[in-house]
Amino acid sequence: MPTANPRWKLALDVERCIGCHACSVACKVENNVPLARFRTKVYYWEHGKFPDVKRNFLPTLCMQCEDAPCLKACPNDAIERFSDGIVRIDPDRCDHAAKCESACPYAAIGCDDNDIADKCDFCSHRLDAGMEPACVETCPAEVFHFGDANDPQSPYSLFMKKHGKETAVLKPEENTKPSVSYRGHAKEMEKKIPKGKLHDPFSYEIETWTSLESQFPKPKRVIWAKVVDAKPSTPTGGKS
């Protein structure tokens, strides 16, 4: 049970992650996140030379920073950090300045000309109903350890008690004091998370798995040859 004054925190045990995208899809359905927009996203990184090839995954979401750059950047005070540790957007105050998106080092907040600012709030509406965030609940690999940091029996506190020393925040050089920490992630993968821009949907494409780029504007994209006619030919009698 959360305490009367909960402090919501999350630790991800990424070594367990299987890259299944369940967290992302759960989030999209739960929060009706449009296509090409994100509150959570899982990155892939394939590396090594055959046959010593490894794949790493990195689920990302809003870090609920204690020193949140988005909050400081917003000219309308539409972003607020609550006493429970969650950084939330007031949709009525957002007038679409998009400064928040430019300020975020974690690609976690999006604000474009077709939308108001939007980001993960640990599924606050689910917390209100006594439920876990959608990503936490569904994770088949038990990567997400979420809970009230003030409750020593919360999954978060229990995990941190056991593994806290092995955890780190992403991009510590940004000094934003994230409430989300990671255990066992590949440090290189932090480069894949855009700074000052929401996640690029093109980072889903398979050709980006081996890259540590964060953005895929057209010049950086693979030019795929066009298949003029994919229709299979009719069987012929030619010998191999």
Binding site: A36, N114, P235
Partner: protein
Amino acid sequence: MNRVDPKTVRPEQSEGSDHASNASANRHPQRERKFLKLRASGESSTTPQSPSRRTAMKQGISALATLALGETIMLIPGEAAAAPQECRTTRKELIGQRAEKRRISGDGRRKNDYKKAKIIKGVCLNCSTVCGIQGYVIDGKLVKVGGNPEDPNNGKSLCAKGQSGPTINTNAERILFPLKRVGARGEGKWKRITWDEAYTDIATRIRKAMDEGKPEEVAIQIGRSRIPEEMTRFLNAIGSPSLFNHRALCSSNKRAANYACFGDTDWETGDFANSKYILNFGSNFYEAHQGAIHVAKRIIRGRFDNGAKLVTVDVRCSNTAGRSDDWLCANPGSEGALALAMCNAIIMAGKHDAKWLDTWSNVNAAQMKVWIAKYTPEWGEGVTGIAAATIRRIALDFAAAAPAAIAFTNRGSAAHYNGFNNDRAVILLNAVVGSIGAVGGYCYGEEPTRVPGRVFPNPLPTPPSPKAKSAIEDPVEWPLANKWQRMKVGQIVYSGLKEGRGKVQVYISYTVATPMTWPEGRSLTVGVLKDEKLVPFHACSDVVYSEQAHYADLILPDASYMERWGLDTRNNMELRDYVTLRQPMIPPPGECVSFVDSMIEIGKRISPETAKYFAFKDHEEWMKIRCAGLTPRVGEDGFEYMKKHGVWQDMTKPKYYALYSWELTAAQMKGARVDEKTGDIFRANAAGKEAKIGLMVDGKARRGFATPSRKFSVYHEDIEAAAKDRKFDEDGGKGMPEYFPVPSIAKMKSEHLHLVSFKWNVHTQGRTQSQKFLTEIVHHNPMWINAKTAADRGLKTGDLVEITTYRPHGHAMGPGAGEVLGTALIPVWVTEGIHPRVLAVSNTLGNLFAGRAATATNGPRQDIPAWSDSVIAEDQDVRDDIWWDTRNGGTGAGFNINAILPIQPAPLVGMQGWYDTVCSIRKV
């Protein structure tokens, strides 16, 4: 022209017109024909009729006001209905309306108020893994599903596909009305009809086949239907054996191997969470596998909470292989050789469990040592390409962890010409180290599919098994296909029809897209489905307009798995019997009807003889009758119990550890005879014939294995007999799990490569591509090629190759071995994560229909009256935001490779050799 999605456009490409016109000029002709074009053609001769009373009552009359009965429409990809920019003219207007709901479906800013939610239990069916789910229904809408915490297999977890479930129900391109073909088959011209017309048409045709004494000419083609008992009752009532399934395309070699080795069931239940060593031959349980999440969850616990090692054998670096402690990239088709070489290493080092083998195996430790001698690790290195030292290291580590050690398989080892023996050899590894049935070992339970019939009995009378035979359903060339269960040889259905092996008068398809997913799908399958002489009548039950529906004469709009009933089960990782219940969380929209309800209606109409087997109102009442069987076990109304919990688990028996050593009960021993010399226990069965029912071990009567010897069958006489009967004289027919080469692979020339397929973690065969959140993640499937192989051929990522495939060599294969089957053009993705001689293309993508997400066609829903905003609203996501549309600079909808994968059933069992295809490539 400004076609570029504002959210994917980058500053350097804001010259959108140039970009868009380039894309359009180079587009694939099939992509050129854009949206599902649905237009009233005015060609109908049928007078519009009133909607049926039943539906009008169910949905309200407004739901039907869109497409008038009898109105003719086109359901084929037509030319672009409108330029994408038109649908974005409201974009700017949204600014300043931020407090309003952004999405035109009205739920963009929705915050689910879970205090108002009604929780309804159910079962997922976005793949066949059978995860328990619970739906949250708020104001009559299913807003979210989660795992059913009471489900012993998945608990509160679901994968991405499971989470995507609710989007199926509200798919803006769902079929909402029964449709009848009016143009040529495959032309895509339809008119709306009533359910009564559809049912009467089907029932009349079935009756005709029965009256002609040809009930076997009524066939149902299924994919993952998960309603086996309902299907069987329907066909048995007709007297037809022709249930054409997909098991041979999926898993029949693996299942046959489990039956041959231990007999009780066809699927192991590894005790992964308690394991110390997990040796995985060709399963990709982090992404696919039957029971993926159930297995993955426990393997992760085994690895990270119990210190287990994970070693994966695969030709491709799947997510599973890429996250394993070791990835062994063995040569394709050599998995059995690798397992035998490991057995050899263990036995020669004396690390095997001789006592277990001497007690429980029909080949004892001394005999095993003689037989295995030829399969040395050095021999294994030559066949597999894995160093002998590595084979020894892993084999001995595996043995050291035993009995908390599991070696198991899936399609990577099984979908080969020699897959049956590959899998038997892998199972043998467990026997050699004595981990069969052990804590942390290779466990199994009693056959789960018999549990629903036993605990939830079907209403009487039940129809008898059919007397009629079908040479398509039971082909003589593959005598083990139907030996242990009716697995059949699904890939020969269309060649069988074409060659006159059998006929169909009525062909009904359900939860399947054979043009996409069958080998030679868009070639042979489509050719047969289009041919009205071969398939005179085809009714297709589907949720969206699929490639299967496109070649039908009638389309029956189905309910989704969140809108229908059904009992389901599978192996339970907690090693207990269990059964789950699907129930509607919401009613089906428009005129959609669950296919079982349709079968009941048809069954009632065929004749009084068939009607008597369907003497219940609907599937719900059928379920209610069956669930009454549970009442005495749970001490409350069984139906209410199942609706409340969604699952029942039998806690009266101990967990299925070491099932073979369970003692026979006094009841089982009644009238039994013990052969004092051998310790074998016999008892007369109902027919008066004596059968072996167990073994005396340690002075106790024990059940043993469900094999002829009641022992673990390394050798199996039935396999040897079947091989002799079919004149299959390769080493695979000797009765022992010998390694024998794949003939097509053995004959490969140096310029040839292997072509394999695979499944993504966010997709299931051909039926998930219509779901926007899944297809957003994976929509493009270029061909994987090894970096060195690509460099040798001057290929880089994005280059186009022409791939040519060849027909297979081997026992009972069709004619034309080594001849060209077909060619296709496909771009390549260069990776270190694949065997140098293997190419891989996913089996999922390249849909021609199934809506805008599936076909990567951004833009408005067709401006025709087939959709109804009052039933399912237009979806702004698929209207505005399909960023993978090539016109937005995207990569498109992918490629379907199955058209050029040859039909190649493995000897005796008949499983498709998905991974035996030989090909050559040429840079274009």
